[in-house]
């Protein structure tokens, strides 16, 4: 699915990366622990998280995360958004909780790892 599909499924607001909504997203990973993201996410994933500090953007950059969606209406500060803009990582915010965000995306076919992609 595309980032635009994800935006619609979650009724999300785009904070930065409006021009990249046609980006194809095939995997997702959710965590509030950045080391878990570094250890277990796969390349080109969508990151679903409740953390909004600049380290999330750094982690995403290092782990080749394609886009980030913040859950429960958590909006990052300007510094985080500015860094994401520089690194060209789209940021979205949804009102849904972590559980509901993951559930809705899973229901529409998004999976975490290739091995579970059935």
């Amino acid at each position: 699915m595309t980032l635009d599909d994800i935006k619609k499924i979650l009724g999300a607001v785009v904070l930065t990366g409006n021009d990249d909504l046609d980006t194809e997203i095939t995997r997702a990973y959710c965590a509030d622990l950045m080391s878990d993201v570094l250890a277990f996410s796969v390349t080109s994933s969508l990151l679903i998280t409740g953390l909004t500090n600049t380290q999330v953007i750094r982690t995403a950059e290092v782990a080749d995360i394609k886009a980030i969606i913040f859950i429960r209406s958590k909006r990052p500060e300007g510094e985080t958004i500015a860094l994401a803009e520089r690194k060209k990582i789209p940021l979205l915010v949804t009102d849904f909780s972590m559980f509901d965000t993951c559930g809705r995306l899973y229901e529409k076919g998004l999976r975490s790892q290739s091995g579970e992609n059935v």
């Binding site: 509030d32 622990l33 950045m34 080391s35 878990d36 570094l38 250890a39 390349t43 998280t49 953390l51 500090n53 600049t54 380290q55 999330v56 750094r58 982690t59 950059e61 290092v62 782990a63 080749d64 690194k87």
Partner: protein, 144 residues
Amino acid sequence: MSTTKEGAFFLTGRDFTNAGTASSELKGILESMHVQPDIVRRAAIAAFEAEMNLIIYAVAGMMNYSITPEKIKVVVSDMGPGIENIELAMTEGYSTAPDYIREMGFGSGMGLPNIKKNADELKINSVVGEGTTLEFVIYLNKAP
């Protein structure tokens, strides 16, 4: 890839604003040298974990890198508290990080195991009360 490159970044403990910039720059350098994307990702992740460890625990330190056609070598050395029990620190989930570090999404005890997972070689030398030197190597032409 035929060129060789080396350099260093100075790192300051507790400087969370700039934490990750050295690894980010290293990633950019590797990309500009057309290193394979999966190797770039492994090197960037290992470097980032080592950089975060230094920022979290040490007063200051350096990240030195050298990239040759054969391998990427990164040495992160710090003036810090040192690691009392390296074997224990290598255990997944073991961490001595304070709560405010955990609130930032770090300190879950995955840092060193994660460096080991991504590197082909890892050496750690540490003296309690003086500092730690961590060195990892990733080979560029290793058969998968």
